[in-house]
Symmetry: C2
């Protein structure tokens, strides 16, 4: 459904809610795709969300909608429901989704639910909860089809028919040896076109792309993207098949990680907080601004220190914003290019020098251009000999330094295994602010003999 | 292959190139996965890239490597090869990839190649070139399997066996009526478990998620992500099936679009330019900085205008950086949250007011906190009655205004269908710089009676 159609669905549902037309609403939510119903939820009040959710007839549809909901909406629904009812819905859901949702609930409620779940299901979910949230183990589904090497194609097809339908996206069959070690993979396509009596070991691909259960989810996503595969098997140290990560989850990870990077660079937290309360948003953003504040205070003491110079040439104050602004802008450019380049795997972290040298040169060229421009304006405005040279030269220096700092910092952070996005935003901006002011007043004092 | 393994492969290849060990190199490139070979290319010199490429034995492997290469690397290889040889490789490639690569080549060479290609292939590619680059039509592959409603499962399996292997990721079969209108879809999974004599119309899903050929690729990606499907069929106005967009291409789009958004917000162009030359990078980044420059000049004239006040209370100058910095930081936070929220489809563009009101409140709360902090520091440092109140109140006002502007601008742009990421970076930062300085000096003049 296109965004416009979602809007139409939304306004239709809102109208029916206002009228209290439960019967019509019931028809609509049961006919619409679960993903569309979930998309509508975020625009409704908690009360309406609960009302609408209970109009869904089938438990498996409820499960689909629930696994598509955002955190906030899920908690609204879950807090209102007794554990027994949640368990019924969870039993229709893939175990990785159940594990994710359980982690959102208060410990007590999630324990209650695990106790109520059927042994087999809860063991699966608890197995997933063992792994770190952001690793291959934490995002994999344990529902895959693994067969022995000697199995024939015909038997494999029978196995497909008998396996319950909750195997997610089964487009590959995995082949394991007697000790569950992964030895090969076959796509459904290969299976369909092979002769019935062929053994799997004769048609399987043995060069299987795998990921270890403790690999970071971002790396897992890169592997799936690089090899254009629809699912990647997750193995342990002994190459025993534990589960698979499917491409639909990889898409969610890529979007999440991009959001995380974007927000971190802007110092706005880790995840979209627009549905959170005002106070929670404020709390998330408050500490990130502290770096800016410290930077401002240091800049303040620097200017204070150069008060003598400022007294003699008052005009100097008017150029503070432009020199800081130009340095900040070019530094942000450099930092962003490097952070994103690192995330996309375009840089080799070992080769810091060539990248930094290139940014330094670019910063210098840009600084030369804008410095010249500013110098001319300043000279024309004040006609004070030397002021044009001071501000022009300050822009040149501050932009060159900014591009260097902007590219250096994320590369160094990546090398010492700190997420470059986190520190770059606040640290780069703050240090460039300080350096720009310092460079400017230092140059002014020396060149104008103040 | 994990990043570490790629590094090992790279250093092995570099060592062998230095030694001129062509035979060993040949073994390695032919044994390694095409995606891994392509990953290595970006770290080699153009000369070595060409050398290595010609060591690949099989044409289909060459095709795989070529379609995985970055733009720069592809052009290095293509410029060195006669059109005849390129055609041979292109014939092994999916037609959407061929169309993408052709667009990178100079017009003359791409025409020459199209002329040389076999009629059927070149018609397919030219068909794709008709569509806009960034639309569903431009990214779809025309290689799909479409069968009639009355076809039996057994015949469908035969069709799968006879269709050439270059159908990309065939995990769905599409069902069309006599006029090629799309009427249903069947997954391979459904096909495998159905009885041989069943007609497709009895097992097909009729509620097919489709996209129109002129839908923007970003929307296409959202559709695939929302419905967790592996491929989405592309149709024209009459619902005639034209092609499919597969999930592996969607992953690339999501990564590209995220990169585009991140870079645009930082005013650093549209795509990663780190492989471009210094001059080209400088040219890309130069115009984006002009907004900052203008902002700085306006700020300069504002301060210049308040020179009288500045002469009386010189300390005012020292607070310029912190007041601008705090405004800029909170404005960037707000703008980023809204831009990313829009990209992720979390906001309804029609509901501008609640979002902006929320940001205004958050900006006010953050401004109150940091304003108070700064007021105390200023009062303690100068002991000039009123200065603490002036700077504290300025931080409060400037942060509130910044959060409001930062959230308003992207929402308004999205509403008038301008990409919010493009304009937000430069426009928001610049206007916040100007507003902060103006607010600060206005407050100072009034409260201190200057």
């Amino acid at each position: 459904m296109h965004p416009e159609q979602i809007k139409i669905l939304l306004s239709m549902i809102q109208k029916l809610i206002r009228r209290g037309a439960a019967h019509n609403l019931q028809k609509i939510v049961n006919k619409s795709h679960a993903a569309d119903v979930a998309a509508v939820f975020s625009f409704l009040s908690p009360k309406d969300q609960i009302f609408l959710f209970h109009l869904i007839d089938k438990t498996d549809k409820k499960a689909e909608v629930l696994s598509e909901l955002g955190e906030t909406e899920f908690l609204v629904i879950a807090e209102d429901m007794p554990a027994e009812e949640i368990v019924k819905i969870f039993e229709e859901m893939a175990s990785d989704d159940v594990a994710d949702l359980l982690q959102l609930l208060p410990d007590e409620k999630s324990k209650e639910i695990l106790d109520l779940m059927e042994k087999e299901d809860s063991a699966e979910v608890e197995g997933l909860l063992r792994f770190e949230d952001d690793t291959a183990g934490g995002i994999m589904v344990p529902d895959f089809i693994a067969l022995k090497e000697e199995t024939t194609v015909a038997d494999a097809i029978t196995a497909l028919q008998t396996k319950e339908k909750d195997v997610e996206m089964a487009f590959y069959l995995y082949v394991v040896d007697d000790y569950d070690h992964l030895v090969g993979v076959i796509s459904l396509r290969q299976l369909v076109v092979a002769r019935p009596m062929t053994k799997l070991q004769d048609i399987m691909t043995t060069n299987v792309v795998t990921v270890h259960s403790n690999m970071d989810q971002e790396e897992v996503a890169k592997v799936v993207a690089r090899y254009n595969i629809l699912a990647v098997p997750v193995v342990d140290d002994q190459n025993v098949l534990l589960g698979i990560v499917t491409v639909d989850d990889v898409i969610d990870i890529i979007r999440e990680e991009a959001t995380e990077d974007i927000l971190r660079m802007a110092g706005a937290g880790d995840e979209l907080v627009e549905t959170q309360s005002v106070l929670r948003s404020t709390r998330t953003r408050l500490p990130w601004l502290f770096a800016s504040w410290i930077g401002g205070i240091v800049a303040f003491y620097i200017i204070d220190h150069f008060q003598g110079a400022l007294t003699k040439v008052l005009y100097l104050a008017a150029f503070i914003p432009i020199i800081m602004g130009m340095g900040g802008s070019v530094g942000t450019q450099s930092a962003t290019i490097v952070v994103r380049g690192l995330a996309m795997g375009r840089f080799n972290v070992k080769q810091i020098l060539p990248v930094v040298l290139k940014e330094l040169t670019i910063g210098g060229l840009l600084g030369f251009f804008y410095g010249l421009l500013l110098g001319i304006v300043a000279q024309y405005r004040y006609d004070l000999w030397g002021l044009g040279i001071v501000v022009g030269f300050s822009v040149l220096c501050s932009m060159t330094v900014a591009a260097t700092v902007g590219s250096c910092v994320p590369l160094i952070l990546a090398r010492i295994k700190v997420d470059p996005a986190v520190a770059t935003g606040s640290f780069v901006t703050t240090s460039i602010d300080i350096l720009s002011v310092l460079i400017y007043f230092q140059i002014a004092t020396v060149l104008l003999h103040l």
